[in-house]
């Protein structure tokens, strides 16, 4: 399972980086979204990949290896919220730039060709 997760994170991150380097604002924002998916999965994986296990509870005398680590899950939740909000803000700026400059190029003007 680690291999599948690692490969999917790699693919997401790679596509995200490629899209961010594109000249259109819509491509950039799609790239940012893919990057944030990759990062969220990555944080999740840092709590070790575990299937079907409850998080650690306050019961005494337990074997921690039988439980999932709840902290990365909490971190992912926070990261999703923050990433979502900043991307939404970028969407607004993107539209404002389109309205002001009349082009969706990241430089605000078409490259001379």
């Amino acid at each position: 399972m680690e291999a599948i997760l690692a490969i999917s994170i790699g693919v997401l991150f790679g596509s995200g980086v490629w899209l961010i380097l594109r000249p259109r604002t819509f491509q950039v924002i799609t790239g940012l979204l893919l990057l944030s998916y990759a990062v969220n999965l990555f944080i999740f994986l840092m709590g070790r990949a575990k299937l079907n296990q409850a998080p650690i509870t306050l019961t005494e005398n337990i074997d921690p290896s039988q439980f999932a680590d709840p902290l990365p899950q909490a971190l992912v939740l926070t990261a999703i919220v923050i990433g979502f909000a900043s991307t939404a803000l970028y969407l607004v700026v993107l539209l404002a730039s389109r309205g002001l400059t009349g082009t969706d190029h990241v430089d605000g003007r078409e490259s001379a060709q």
Binding site: I20, L71, S86, L100, G108
Partner: protein, 538 residues
């Protein structure tokens, strides 16, 4: 009872701007003076709180002069701890002083332009204060995001196409940085199993080799995020465009946002990779040193190439970042103390210059400036006119003197505090180790700092001569007292730094000494007991 209330003082610099910012949203648009009064009161209160914290730290109120606030009463490695020490207090004071300055300046014009200017300003202060106070790596990320979200909004303030374009690039760069920040945090967590900075530092010396690798990778990725914010070369290309596009009070605050990256690097590296960190001691400091040196070189080339005052200030900020990063990379108390002096002086100077630029632009006649440029290029001599002894209006005299003050501070010439800062850096570099030679990195650094000072003098002189002397003044400038006062006050503080250099330097040396003895910090944070349940609360 009193003691409990005093401990709550630590969380106030975060809570106060948050509540005032939220309150200000209710009064959007209408009633300018009420909105200004609320935000001015809040910022002034933050200054007073920072002064109180300074008193507590200096009067040995807490053991080891480090105050710990356990949020929600969870003990340290599990809950979020806020930590106030000398460095945090220093940065809080700097934030509130700059905040008051920028806020007063924006009362004249910029505060009236947009809708939520004052709320965003308070949220920016909240993010800055939080980043300086927090003792938890993930909480640091959250405060970074608060600060950045507010700065995105403020950067777009006074909405035009230049600002939207600069804002778009600034947001993309910072969103990318946030992704890297998260990856770094996740790796550090995977390696050490904790996010509390003190706990990470306590566990670092005894990490097994495989986890140590992971920690190093995580720390390096974190550093990329912080160093992009502090504009190290080659991650600094966003800075000149952003700074010169922002409205003046926002640009002044952005100067401080750059310093947050430097603060974080200083805090984490002096804590986690100190001399006591076993095999990890001094991880990455060579990269930091050379990165800083190249940044200074990049800044000075940019300084020569710039004509606009906004870009001059930006490259001056880059030079100051480079100097700070390379000086703190030595990880020695005497050098860190000198670097902190430089940080205070250069931040205030560049921020004052950012505010001054707009006022100077008012007397500049674009056509006349262009003419002067052409005359210089083709070496056309002016007809010598008869000097008629024109009386200089007071406003113009103020602008000229303030510009001269900023230029002296940014270039580091005597008699102002910029010179003392550079002098202490040189002194610390040359006396750091009597036996070992300085080596070529040290000499390169000294030479580059001197040359960057020279570059600043040349570039600023060129701008000053062209603005105040070479071009006929198109119209007498109209200055409002509330615009001129903050610039005057910021420069006056730098003069005070010069006069009171001794006491200030001693405080900064104490700050640096406690930074480089991380055991005290680790012990204080991890041993802070939770407040016992008194039973009288329902």
């Amino acid at each position: 009872m009193m003691e409990q209330w005093i401990t709550h003082l630590i969380v106030l610099p975060i809570l106060l701007p948050m509540l005032c910012g939220a309150l200000l949203i209710l009064f959007s648009r209408r009633n300018f003076s009420l909105r200004f009064a609320i935000s001015a009161l809040s910022t002034a209160a933050q200054f007073v709180i920072a002064l109180c914290l300074l008193q507590l730290v200096e009067k040995n109120y807490w053991t080891g002069d480090i105050g710990v606030y356990l949020a929600a009463n969870w003990v340290a490695p599990f809950g979020i701890a806020l930590v106030v020490d000398r460095l945090a207090v220093l940065m809080l004071l700097l934030t509130s002083v700059l905040g008051i300055g920028a806020l007063c300046y924006s009362a004249a014009r910029w505060g009236r332009v947009g809708v939520h200017y004052f709320s965003l300003f308070q949220f920016l202060l909240m993010g800055l204060n939080g980043a300086f106070l927090t003792g938890d790596l993930f909480n640091l990320f959250v405060f970074f995001e608060v600060m950045l979200a507010a700065s995105y909004g403020l950067l777009l303030h006074g909405y035009n196409s230049t600002r939207v374009r600069a804002g778009m690039q600034f947001i993309v760069v910072n969103l990318l940085c946030s992704s890297l920040f998260l990856i770094g945090v996740a790796l550090v967590y995977a390696a050490t199993g904790t996010l509390n900075m003190a706990d990470i530092a306590a566990r670092t010396p005894s990490l097994p080799a495989s986890d140590r690798q992971l920690l190093h990778v995580g720390a390096a990725i974190l550093a990329v995020a912080f160093l992009t914010k502090s504009a190290i070369w080659p991650l600094s290309f966003w800075l000149p465009t952003t700074y010169s596009a922002a409205s003046p009070p926002v640009a002044a605050m952005l100067v401080l946002v750059t310093k947050v990256g430097i603060y974080t690097v200083l805090r984490l590296w002096s804590l986690i990779f100190s001399g006591e960190a076993g095999e990890s001691a001094g991880f990455g400091t060579t990269v930091l040193l050379w990165g800083g040196v190249i940044t200074i070189a990049f800044g000075l080339i940019g300084m020569f190439a710039s004509q606009e005052p906004g870009r001059l200030a930006s490259y001056s900020a880059i030079i100051s970042s480079g100097t700070l990063l390379s000086v703190i990379s030595y990880g020695q108390a005497s050098l860190t103390g000198a670097a902190l002096f430089y940080l205070l002086s250069s931040t205030l100077a560049v921020a004052a210059f950012m505010l001054l630029i707009e006022l100077i632009e008012r007397i500049r006649n674009p056509a006349a400036a262009m003419l002067a440029l052409t005359m210089e290029a083709f070496a056309i001599e002016d007809e010598p006119k008869e000097s008629a002894g024109v009386a200089i209006p007071g406003a113009l005299a103020f602008l000229g003197l303030a510009f001269a003050g900023c230029a002296l501070l940014m270039a580091g010439l005597p008699p102002l505090s910029g010179f003392i800062a550079k002098f202490t850096i040189f002194h610390a570099l040359l006396t750091q180790n009597a036996q070992a030679a300085l080596g070529y990195p040290g000499w390169t650094l000294i030479i580059l700092i001197v040359v960057s000072g020279l570059a600043s003098v040349i570039a600023l002189m060129r701008f000053g001569v062209r603005t105040f002397w070479a071009t006929p003044i198109a119209k007498a400038p109209h200055l409002q007292a509330i615009e001129a006062a903050p610039i005057f006050a910021l420069l006056l503080i730098c003069v005070l730094f010069t006069v009171q250099a001794g006491p200030l330097k001693r405080y900064l040396d104490r700050t640096a000494a406690s930074l480089h003895e991380p055991q005290q910090y680790i012990h204080q944070v991890l041993s802070q007991p939770a407040v016992p349940d008194t039973g009288d609360t329902p």
